[in-house]
Every structure is written in structure tokens, then in C-alpha cells.
Symmetry: D3
Subunit: 237 residues, 6 copies
């Protein structure tokens, strides 16, 4: 029995709320249960130095947690003077995941930065960020389309993410913090709408895991991400 | 006529929403119109080094803006590697303002950190942060009271803040961003529930201002803060 | 009775010594009693990025304290790796105060940086820095005038500053360190030669203060700054 | 045909040279073809703060690249003032991988830091670092055993790592830089000597990959890591 | 002919002014011509961690330049976020030089920090800092003696420093900035009152120099430092 | 008797191995006994800002130590967030020493960066770095010559370095760590192939030293550097 009382293949209550920011070109407040992440997409007219003049655009992401998004207050990264290794690792993952479904040439020589700020954390912040970040990014590109800045082919597919793990010997979907802390194995999956794999990250917290266990996790992930993509489609109309 | 169409002594729509954080001992999402600040109060069992062993507690504040809380995306302070001078100045102001109504001896040797994170900015973020930060702090101390950690005398008074300015020659209350950008003079006032002055900060953006103009601003502030304190009382029951 | 034995409206011994730097375009060693601040004005031929090409100049300030300018040695900010929040706040105040009396268009697309370095501290370093910084700035612009770089209209007025406070219940002018440490309320005023208000910063250290007390402080400040401006005029000939 | 002319399941020439450091308690210069990583294990008598007094030890890793280990000189991280996100991500991976085969209680309250410094890079530095880092760690623990500091049960299994990828449509083992730059998919696998999975990281560089492709990569990894573990055993005698 | 019109073995006008700081236990404003350095000695009751409990004291130094001490304004090191390599190198030299004449055991487990801040620079700031720093240190130890904190044997000898160089083919003493910029060779010498050598640093700016040239520089340095030590004795009474 | 059993004027076993880096334009692994330094020379097509457009090139150096190159593990400078004062001082010395034998005009508007990374330390790392860095630099310029980027006159002379010291009262050549730690006086000499002096740095660790002692050290250095230059010539063919 999971602490959350959910069935092994049951997602938490998911919500995707668009247009939550007065200023951003695209935005989404994503909730995976008690995990709440505010995603905003900001369009800038210049690309990083290494892309200048190549006619190609860029999509990048930044990730942060509010100091009291967690059970114990964390030190503010701006006060500490640097982003933690964990934050850097997560924002690199979000950026790669979003770029996987974008045609950077069709985007043109512009950059979209997707900021994912965790308002409240209860496990799975990176997967919520990817899932909601896609919605913010989608709306930013829609904003560009209505201004004739881009055509129809910028977005190649949907992308969403979920975590799975082995909890007390059984594979379960979408771990909350209590489950994540006690899981033997923790894996994050990023898949496209058509089922292609974009990223897989699996980690044995204690005992190494087997190929069969990993296959079970991937199976759960496919189910869960299928539902997340359905929800994205519903939300985006 | 103000861009916001408000009367000179009219506040924006104000809302104070308590208990918005699953984790924090006290929290408040404060809205002054389109300015939204999430305030959380976190209790820690240790005080800064210079207070250790003195039997006195401490209240401090930290302030940050989400990168796309503003019209143009700002650089993330954690990525820049430091808090800006503006952020440091504002969080010092918030901390002083909140300490002004707390009996630090009655608090006991503990620290409360009030984090004020701007979710969306439209002028007056620091005054909203003080007004909402007080509510978060109040609830944190109530949380302590129900656990018999403190008595009844920790909070000495209410405290709230508002900005005023000279806009096109006329004194106006509670400037939004459009008004603030065009104002000749900008002043922030922090007052207690009983009308005592805690902080005054007045700045001439262009032409210096006169004693009479300043008196008019202070008059507006007293009116506005009176209403904010009433709202705090209503909210806190 | 004040620890300094001064009358409530009595300034410390003030001295403004011009031309103390072999290299700077303008300089002033200002003394408010035992508070000594070296102010230098440095002309540079380029403005900050956000002003480039606009035909407007800029005046900015930087502030620092020598490690043993104080009773206990402070950590060197360069060794600590950053300026403190207090230093940043003070240098922002000095810069705003000096800009208030400068016609930035008449200055032309150039920047003047006024460095204010505290050689010895005994309270009131920021107000001494503004008062002496104006002299350094004045001489820098005079230096430019003799080279036909600017016309006569760059400086619009004098500017000076002083602190006032409530000490043992009575309003007093120009607090030294002993008085400042014990004051209930501490306020800094920046006024122009014609009496316009440029900046007001008032802070209740313990008990909030009343409108009447604040008016008394402002009254003292007007007297004191009047004398400081007279001394500036005398010094500048 | 691979640029390296190797068969799809062929490793590069691998060498593990023990005892290369005069000072370290354990050391290994590992070569995967032209990728050369110097691994040293350093024993310290204290654990990180969060473990103190718990009777448990810790194994951690740090990773760096010499500035000209790469084709173009990279900026020295010490001069840049911080480790890159990539470095932090890799050293976290190495640390987790090595801890997976260590009984931290049997280690006792001590820390071993495994430094992995890339002398020359040609793809696969992180997998070489894990494979060689294990040898350095093993020798460090052997050093402790000869001094009766620990018993026989500290090391629970071997651990090694390899990268695999889809190159021009075919799954290949142990990518060098030329192959890695052109691969559609890149995955790193960390497995134990008994075949348990410790870490999986798979990334689609362009097109998402399928479950079948991923299974093929995992198959190659098992073969390759089997050989690496054999070589570790041979080296360690 | 030197630009300064001085004879080859002629020092600039030297002045050593004691007791210039209200707060420091010892202080000296040293002038070598237009090079002015404020030296303060600060006593602290604790030593660096690696000396704790050993009954030995420590003398250290910190060095900084005011931003407009130089012909062109330099960036403030506190704003840049770090001390330059040059500053670090100079302060290490000053610290070593002063320690060479102090009996650290006789000092007892305390630290004296000598801050050397360049108010105005015209070449030779490091040698002026050592010469004046010794005076500040001497007075700090005298301050301790009058409080019976130390005995008579803390200071073992005088120490002073001077620069020499080859200017247009001739060896000259005590280079000012104009001479230093054009010198082929620049050397700094630190000697004790009894003529022992503490530090020698010689650098060929362009052409390497010969053993004979170096001997000539050392000869000049002995003459110059002899006079500086005489002046220290005169000043210290 | 020296701990190393060497004669007073005997160098450690010296080895200079060229071409050790697959990527660098020039490289040398230099060994002075157990001190091993990897030197690479990297050619870049741009010079520092202050040289741009002047037709002159630049040679610079960077220095680092691997964390466990020493007896006790040192903190990684990239993790500490800055290079130590010692590292900065040493890399400035290496850069000056190498520039002394290069015709920067003949080099053309390009920069060569010589990275000196200490793989294993046993005293004398800076002198080994200069001696080996010259070989790497020489090969980099040879690489340029074969591509007709420069002519024959870029290198004006050889340059090498050695340390000497007074150990138990006697002058000795090329100190290892054990000797260096116990030496009363430590001096580093950088000389050219024709015997010109480029740099001299002598430091009394305890008792000041005499002119005669210094002359003895210089004598030893001339002998030792003569042999090092012979070895450079032999190596470079």
C-alpha cells in the first residue's frame, strides 16, 4: 500500500492552468498533487553567442525553488551566491527535453527561456516542470504565430514527464515526497506524445535494480505520460 | 487623472490570502492589484551568532523576484551569483519593519525568516511584502502559541506599508508601475496600527519636493495604511 | 545632555578640504568631527550601456569603509568577495542625491563616478559623503568647464545632507556614533541649497515615532543643511 | 562503419594503471583509448556535517577537466570562479555510482573523496572516471584494511560504466568524441559486477528513440561492462 | 637624468606620521613622495585555525588601493568581487616581511592585522606599505606593552623596504611611477635594521639583467633602507 | 647531509617528455624527481583587450594543482570558487618568465596560454613549470612555423628555473618538499640560456640572510639552470 493510498499506476491529481502571468508570452501553473510549479516562457530577440548568425533559435530553461517550498526552509540560492548542482542538473534536463520537440530552424534566430519556479514541493518537481513548461512554451509560440513571427511547424510533438520508482518492492507511478524518500529506485522518464523516448534517468538509491524492474517502470511511465499528454491537449484546446 | 482611473486616495484591489503554503508555519499571498507577493514565515530554533545566549529572538526577511515577474525578463539572481543592491535594500527594510512590532525577548531565542517572493510585479512590491509579511509572521506566532512556545505578548502592534507619490503634480496613493515610472516623487511609508511611524523613505526622482508635498503624501499614507490594517484585522479574525 | 556636549541644533566641527588628490578631476576630504571621508570624482568618457547613444550623461557613486575605520576591525569587503547590503544601499543613496542637482543632458554623454571612502568613522558617514561628494563633483565639472567640455548649466543647485535623531526623547542634529547607537529614531535628510527635499529616510530603532517628532527632525535638518551649504559655498569660492 | 573502425560491440583499448600517485591512499590512471582520467582516493577522518555522530561513512567524488584536455582550450573552472553545471552533474553521478557498492556502515565514520581529473578527453570521460575511480577506491580501502581500520565487508560488489549510442542508425558501444558528437542518442550505463543496474542516463540528441533501441543499448552495455569488470579484477589481482 | 631630477641614490621625500587613526591600536600614514599609504594595526584575540592552542601568535597584512588612487580610476575590488592577483601577492609579501622581525611566541596567541590602504599611488606602494606598516605594528605592540600583555622581546629588529631599478641603463633608488613604467628592471628589497635580507624580488621587464646590475641595485637598496630605518627610529623616539 | 642524500649542487632526476597531449599545439610533462607538472601550450587567435589592434601578441600562463597532488588533499580551487593567492602569484611569475624570451611583435597578434597543472607535488613546482612550460611553448611556436604563421625570430633565448635554499646552514640546489619545509631561506631563480637574470625571488623563512649567502644561492642556480637548459636543448633536438 502506497502512503498516498493511490493505485500503483495512479497519478496524483494533475492540473495545468494557462495564462497565469500578466507579463510572460506563455505561462502555466502546473500541479502534480501538492507539487506546484510556476512555468513562464519569455521570448527574447537574441540567441546565445555560439548560435549568432546561424538562423537557428534556442530554447533553454532555468529552475529554482522558493526557500520555503520545502518542509525545512532551504537557503536562498541567490543569497548563497550560486545555483546548486541539483538545480543546474534539473534545468539542463528541462531544456534538453523541451528542445527535443522544437524545430529550432523554424523558430528563427530567437531564444525562449522557460523559467520553472517551484512554489511548493512534494516530490517530482522536475517532471511537473517539464510537463507544465511545455504548455508555457506552446502558448509562447502561439503568441508568436498570431503575430506572424513563425509558421505552423515549430512544435513537432508534445512532451511530458513523470517519475516512477520501486516502493517496498513494487513499481509505482508518480512518487510524492514520502514515497520518493523511501523508494529503493527512482527513475524519471521524458516521452513525446507519439511515445518516443527523450530522456531516461534511473538511479538505484540502495540496492541495484534489474532489467525487469526497469522495464516495469518504463511501462508505468508510458501509461502515465499518455494521460499527461491527453491533459495537455485538453488544456491547449 | 491617474492611468489607473483611481481616485487620488484610492488603493488598488487588495487581497490577503492566508495559509497558502503546505509547509510554512505562516504564509500569505498578498495582492495589491497586479502585484502579487508570496510571503512565508519559517521558524528556526537558532538565532544569528551575535545574539546567541542572550535570550532574545530575531525576525529577518529575504526578498526576491521571479525572473518573469516583470515586463521584461530579469536575470535570475541565483544565476547572476548575487542579490542585487535593490533586493538587499528591500529585504533590510522589510526585516526592520517587522521587527518594529515584535517583542524579541518574548519571542525567545529563535529566528523567524519571512521570505517575500514576488510572483508578479506591478509597482509597490516592497509595501505589499511588508503588509503580507506581517500576516505570515502573525500566523507563525499563532502556530507557536498553540504549541505553548510563546505567550500572548510577542506582537506589539500591527504594521503595514504603502507607497505614495506626486503624479503630474498631484499626490496619489498606492502607485502601480505605470504611475511609479512617471512620478516626480516616490515615497514609501511603514506605519503601525496605532499610527506610529516605523519607516519613511522619500525620493525625488527629478525635481526636489517641498515640505508641504511631503506632508500631503504622509496624509495619504495614513489613510491608506489605516485601511490596510483594517483588512489585516479582518483577515486574521 | 548629549554625550558630545553639543547643543541640540549644533553640528560637529565640519571641514571641507578640496584638491586632496593628485589624480582625480575633483576631490574633497570631508570631516564631520571624527568622521572622515575621502571623496574623489572621476570622469570617464563612456556611459552605462542603457544610456549609450542618448546624449545624456550619468553620475554614480561608490562607497566603502577602510577595515579599521571603525572601533572593531571590519572584514575587508574585497576579501569577503562582495559589498555588504549596507554599502550598496548607501552608494545608491549618494548617487541619487548627487544626480538630483545635475542636468544630465548638459553633462553630455559622459560618466562621473564619485568614490566615497571612509577613512575614519564616527557616525554619519553617508551624510558626510554626500556633502563632500558634492564638492568633489563640483570641482570635476569645473575642471571640465576650463577645458570647454561643458557649459555653465550642468549644476542646478547645491546639495548636502545631515542626520538627525531622537536622543533620550529630544530631537538632536548630526549624531555621532555614541549618540546614533543610543538614539530611538534615526533619520537622514538630503536637501538642496534652495531647500528642496531630495531624500528622506527615517527609521524607528525601537518605538515608532510620531508625525510631530518627525517634523522636529526635519526642522533641525533644514537648519543644519543650511549651514553645510553655506560652508560649501565658502569652500568653493 | 564507425569512424573508429571498431565493431559495434567493441571497446576501445582500455588500461587501468594502479598506484600512480605518491601521496594518495589509492589511485588509478584509467585510459579508454585517448580518454585519460587520473583518479585518486583520499581518506579523511571526518564526515560531512549531516552524518556526524551516526557511525556511518561517506564516499564522494569530484570531477574536473584540465583546460587543454579538449580540442579547444576550455576556461579553467578555478579562474571562472565556479564548476560548470556539467562538472557538478558528472561528479554527483560518480559519487552515487561508487556509493552503490560500498557498505557505509562498515566503512566507519570517515570520508573517502575520489578525485577524477581528465588529463585528456576523447569522449566517455564520466564512464572512464567511474571505472577507474572504483579501482582507486578499492585500493584505498585495501590500504585501510592493512592498517586494521576496516574489515572485509566494505566493498559489496564491483562497479563499472560505459556509454552506448545510436550512430547512423546502429547501436554501438563505448563512443569516442567523433562518434558521440554525431550520435542520435547517447546513454550512459553504470552496472555492478553481478549485473545490477546502478544508473541509467539516456538522452535523445535529436530524434526521440524507441524502447527497442534502448534495449539494444542496454544489451551492449552489459557486454561492455562485463569486460570492464573482468579487467578490474585482473588489475586488482 | 631621472624624470624626478633626483640623484641616483636619492630617496623621495619620506614622511612617517604616527597615531593618525582614532580607533587602531597602531597606525601610520607613510608618504614616499606622492605615494601615500595608510597603515593600521588591529589587535585581535584569536589566531587563525591552524595555530590555535599552540601558544604562538600571528601577524598578517591586507593591502588595497582606493579606486582613484591611480591616474586612471581602477575598478573597486569589492565591487569586482575579489582581490586581484597583484593585491594578494603584495599583501602576502607585506605579511612575510613584518613577521620576519616578530617573535611570534613572545607575542602570545593573538593576531595583529596590518591593513595597508593606498590613498594615493605614485610607484613603490608595497615598499612604502612595509616601511609604514612596521611603524603601525610597533605602536600596536607598544600599546600592548603598556597594558602588560607582552614583554620587551616581541620585536626583534626594524624592517623597511625600497624599490630600485635600472633606468636608462643606470641603477637608481626608489622609483616613482614615471621611472617605474620606463625601467628595464625593477627590484624590491626588504631588509632589517641590522642589514639582514628578508625578501628580494627582481624582475626584468624587457632585457634580462646581469649579476653585476643586480649587485648595484642591492647596494642602492642597502643605502636607502639604512636611511628609512634611521627615520623609523627618529619617528618612534 | 640532505634528506635526499644529494650533493649540495645536485639536481633531482629531471625528465622532459614532449608531445604528451593529443590536442595541444605544444606540450611537455616535466619531472623534477617526484614533482610532475603537465604543461600545455594553446594557441588562440585573439589577444587580450588592451593589446587589440597593436600588432603584438601575448604569452600568458595558468597554474593549478590537482587536489591530491599533495600529501594532504587540498580543496579543489574550482569548488572553492577562486584561485588561491599562491596560485595567482605563481602563474604571474610563469607568464613573466616565458614572455622574457619571446619577441611578442614577431609572434603577431595571437595569444599562447601555457597551462601548468601539477599532477604530483614534491617541492619546486613553479620552477619545474617554467622549465617545462618553455618546452611546450617552443613546440607550439614550432607548430606555427611549419604552418608559416611565424618566422624564425619569435624565440629569443631559452629560459629555465630552479630553487635554491639554505638547509641547515648550507646552500643547496633544487629543494624537494622535505628540504623546502625545513630550509631557513628559499629562493627561486629564472635565468635565460645566455645567463641573463629574468626573475629572482628570495625569502627568509626565519632568520634574515646575508649578501654572501644570497651570492652562494645565485651561484648554485647558475650551475643548475645551465644543466636544465642543456637538457631542454637535448630534448628539443
Amino acid at each position: 500500500m502506497r502512503p498516498s493510498k493511490r493505485a500503483p499506476d495512479e497519478l496524483r491529481g494533475i492540473s495545468l492552468e494557462r495564462g497565469v502571468s500578466k507579463h510572460a508570452e506563455g505561462s502555466c501553473l502546473v500541479k502534480f498533487g501538492d507539487t506546484h510549479v510556476l512555468c513562464t516562457a519569455s521570448l527574447e530577440d537574441r540567441v546565445p553567442p555560439w548560435l549568432r548568425g546561424g538562423g537557428k533559435g534556442w530554447v533553454t530553461a532555468e529552475y529554482g525553488m522558493l526557500p520555503r517550498s520545502t518542509g525545512d526552509r532551504m537557503r536562498r540560492e541567490a543569497a548563497a551566491g550560486k545555483q546548486s548542482g541539483r538545480s543546474l542538473e534539473i534545468q539542463r534536463l528541462i531544456g534538453r527535453s523541451l528542445r527535443a520537440v522544437i524545430d529550432l530552424v523554424a523558430l528563427g534566430e530567437r531564444q525562449i527561456t522557460v523559467d520553472c519556479d517551484v512554489i511548493q514541493a512534494d516530490g517530482g518537481t522536475r517532471t511537473a516542470a517539464i510537463t507544465g513548461g511545455f504548455v508555457a512554451l506552446y502558448d509562447c509560440i502561439a503568441w508568436m504565430k498570431t503575430r506572424n513571427m513563425v509558421g505552423d511547424k515549430v512544435i513537432k510533438d508534445h512532451v511530458a514527464a513523470v517519475s516512477c520508482g520501486i516502493y517496498q518492492g513494487s513499481p509505482v507511478l508518480d512518487l510524492d515526497y514520502a514515497e520518493d524518500s523511501a523508494a529503493e529506485t527512482d527513475a524519471n522518464f521524458v516521452l513525446t506524445g507519439r511515445g518516443g523516448i527523450v530522456e531516461i534517468q534511473g538511479t538505484a538509491e540502495g540496492t541495484p535494480f534489474s532489467e525487469e524492474e526497469f522495464a516495469a517502470l518504463l511501462g508505468l511511465a508510458k501509461t502515465g505520460i499518455g494521460r499527461l499528454v491527453d491533459l495537455q491537449k485538453l488544456t491547449l484546446g
